[in-house]
């Protein structure tokens, strides 16, 4: 059973904010709205689950707030900094230092071991080797993969790979982790383990988690649940107590 208050105790100021965030694509001369004037905010330590049907704009929203895509109109602020006016290099720096990403299909680098995959974000930050090794060992311990550290992704199960991906997303101690369908390729038990891990890390590290999912079981871990339909957000009620009752 989880503790009664299953989230970060130190909720802080607004970490992420979007204003009239819109993304359109053109198909055959017609403008299609993937996201329409979305206003959203997440505080430090938030755990938000976003769901909605396929094609509703969930992944588009995640791409925009993770600064891997640019909006057609509107803006995203991360810790008060508008991403729309940033250069590619500045956005890379932002992703490197403040954002952790977990992909639906893990996206691990196949030629690297589990430990090296986890180490990669530190490597591109030029973190000294002793510190890299120490932090990798710690985080692999947290996700229960110490014994599998030297295995390549192809030698790991789906759940183990996703745990590597979660560890990779957290190794650089980001302020926000964005996860796109983190349980989609996992069986229910492994999916539960991964979500438990995220909840634990949110609780212990006060990291903002924004999880996009189809999986209703994942929603049980949310502080806030948001639904996207036709590119528009529909905020649900705060559900801080839900996680403790699941």
């Amino acid at each position: 059973m989880r503790s009664e208050r299953a989230f970060c105790h130190e909720q802080g100021p607004v970490f992420l904010k979007t204003s009239e965030l819109t993304k359109t694509y053109r198909f055959g001369g017609e403008e299609i709205y993937a996201l329409r004037e979305v206003d959203f905010a997440a505080d430090q330590g938030d755990f938000v689950v976003i769901n909605g049907p396929s094609g509703s704009g969930k992944t588009t929203f995640l791409n925009l707030i993770s600064a891997i895509d640019r909006p057609t109109t509107g803006n995203v602020w991360i810790q008060g900094v508008a991403t729309g006016s940033q250069t590619e290099k500045a956005l890379a720096e932002l992703r490197r230092t403040k954002i952790g990403l977990v992909f639906q299909s893990f996206n691990l680098i196949p030629v690297l071991s589990a430990a090296e995959n986890v180490e990669y974000p530190l490597l591109i930050q030029h973190t000294p080797k002793p510190e890299r090794r120490k932090r990798v060992a710690e985080i692999l311990g947290e996700v229960g993969l110490t014994d599998l550290a030297r295995r390549r992704p192809s030698e790991l199960s789906g759940g183990q790979r996703q745990r590597v991906a979660v560890a990779r997303s957290l190794i650089a101690q980001p302020k926000m982790v964005l996860a796109d369908e983190p349980t989609a390729n996992l069986d229910s038990e492994t999916g539960k383990q991964v979500m438990e891990l995220m909840r634990k890390l949110n609780e212990e590290h006060c990291v903002v988690f924004i999880v996009v999912t189809h999986d209703s079981a994942v929603a049980a871990y949310a502080r806030r649940r948001i639904r996207i339909l036709d590119g528009q957000l529909q905020e649900g009620e705060p559900i801080e107590s839900m996680a403790s009752t699941s």
Binding site: I68, A92, R96, L101, N107, I124, Q125, Q173
Partner: protein
């Protein structure tokens, strides 16, 4: 908490190397292609260098490293023998030469045209008179019958093998040399053949006679010489010594001009130019071949990893970081392929040299053994060709991949 270092890791070598090893067959194919190009370049450059060196040595043997003469001799503007150097000029020039650290020895020389007759045959020749036993220019090593000229010789002559064959001469034969003296009078003198020399060039063997300088001055009725032949301790010092000597001679206002062995040999210059064009063509052809094949291979290899590149960009690697990563990968290919190519080139060259294929170049009488030079100097050019071709071929796909939109790259399955 943010990472405490702002500078991105510039170039990790282990990730590119592992990426290279993920498709071993393709990497092996790429390395083989680069190695083949490098080995071909190495082999041809080694052959060209060896041949050029042989021709350099032959040319220096024929002309000395440097020659010093009056400007109107070089410019062919003299009226008669007005270009001849006086004893004072020769003494002053020899003083300059003796002070130069690169000069090993020097000797005076006097050349003039003549007509040589033996029996009922005659032939126009160029007579080269020199001091027998001098250490700057001698043909003693080339004597194949009889002996070299000595200081005691007077009316003695060394003839080329081809001329001896044409005129039926052997050591001990007597020929008649007809010439014009410095004053313009006809003169004729009998000369005893003391030796027959061979040379790499049939033309030299047919047209050149060697007689003692003192006897040439006697029959030409002059105390003068037309040039000084200078031998240096190192062929590589030719140009720098020429410059130094020219300044020293100009300071003494002797009206003398120094020429280098390659300036004196149009044949060498033409051949050297041909060698440069030949190697340039081979290097270019190899570069183009390697460039396009590796371009295709790398484009495919990088395209297959679009999603992975999208991932590392999403994790915060900059465009420059991706570019350097891909460039490092091709640098591994380039280094491994080029080194393998040099190694293969050495093996092929050793085998080729071991077989000892003979060839008689046009205009020569003796066959030479075709040899490929194996040296560090020979390896540098081909290594550069292999490295440059591979790195150049990777630039376009690396730039393309590094400029991908992250979100688009991540969509690729």
């Amino acid at each position: 908490m943010m990472g405490n270092c702002k500078k991105e890791n510039p170039l990790n070598l282990w990730l590119p190397l592992r990426s290279l090893l993920r498709n071993r067959r393709r990497s092996a194919l790429s390395i083989t292609i680069i190695a083949l190009g490098t080995a071909i370049s190495f082999f041809f450059l080694g052959y060209i260098q060896e041949s050029r060196s042989l021709i350099q040595q032959t040319t220096v043997n024929e002309f000395g490293n440097l020659q010093i003469a009056a400007s109107d001799l070089w410019e062919d503007t003299a009226d008669g023998y007005t270009y001849l150097l006086s004893s004072d000029q020769v003494d002053a020039a020899e003083e300059v030469l003796s002070a130069d650290p690169s000069v090993v020895s020097s000797t005076a020389q006097l050349q003039f045209p003549g007509l040589v007759a033996a029996g009922d045959q005659s032939r126009v020749v160029r007579v080269t008179s020199l001091v027998p036993g001098n250490k700057a220019l001698g043909y003693g090593d080339h004597v194949v019958a009889g002996r070299d000229l000595t200081k005691e010789d007077t009316a003695a002559v060394l003839v080329g093998r081809a001329l001896a064959d044409r005129l039926g001469l052997t050591p001990g034969s007597v020929i008649t040399l007809t010439l014009t003296t410095v004053a313009g009078a006809y003169n004729a003198t009998p000369l005893r053949v003391v030796g027959i020399f061979r040379f790499t060039s049939e033309q030299v063997e047919l047209q050149t006679l060697f007689i003692p300088l003192s006897y040439a001055q006697l029959v030409l009725s002059t105390p003068g010489v037309d040039r000084l032949i200078v031998k240096l301790d190192n062929i590589a010092a030719t140009n720098s010594t020429r410059d130094r000597l020219q300044i020293a001679l100009d300071n003494r206002a002797l009206g003398l001009k120094v020429k280098t062995w390659d300036e004196l040999s149009p044949f060498y210059r033409q051949l050297s130019g041909l060698f440069n064009v030949l190697f340039g063509f081979i290097a270019l052809a190899t570069t183009v071949l390697v460039f396009f094949i590796i371009l295709q291979v790398l484009t495919l290899a990088f395209l297959e990893r679009t999603r992975e590149i999208g991932t590392i960009r999403a994790l915060g690697t900059t465009r420059g970081g991706v570019f350097r990563l891909l460039l490092a990968e091709s640098a591994w290919l380039a280094v491994l392929g080029s080194l393998a190519g040099v190694a293969a080139g050495i093996v092929i060259a050793l085998a080729f040299n071991e077989v000892g294929i003979e060839w008689t170049p046009p205009g020569t009488l003796d066959p030479v053994i075709l040899t490929v030079r194996i040296s560090l100097e020979t390896a540098i050019g081909p290594l550069a060709v292999g490295l440059a071709a591979t790195l150049l071929s990777s630039l376009f796909p690396a730039v393309q991949m590094s400029r991908l939109q992250v979100v688009d790259a991540l969509r690729v399955q």
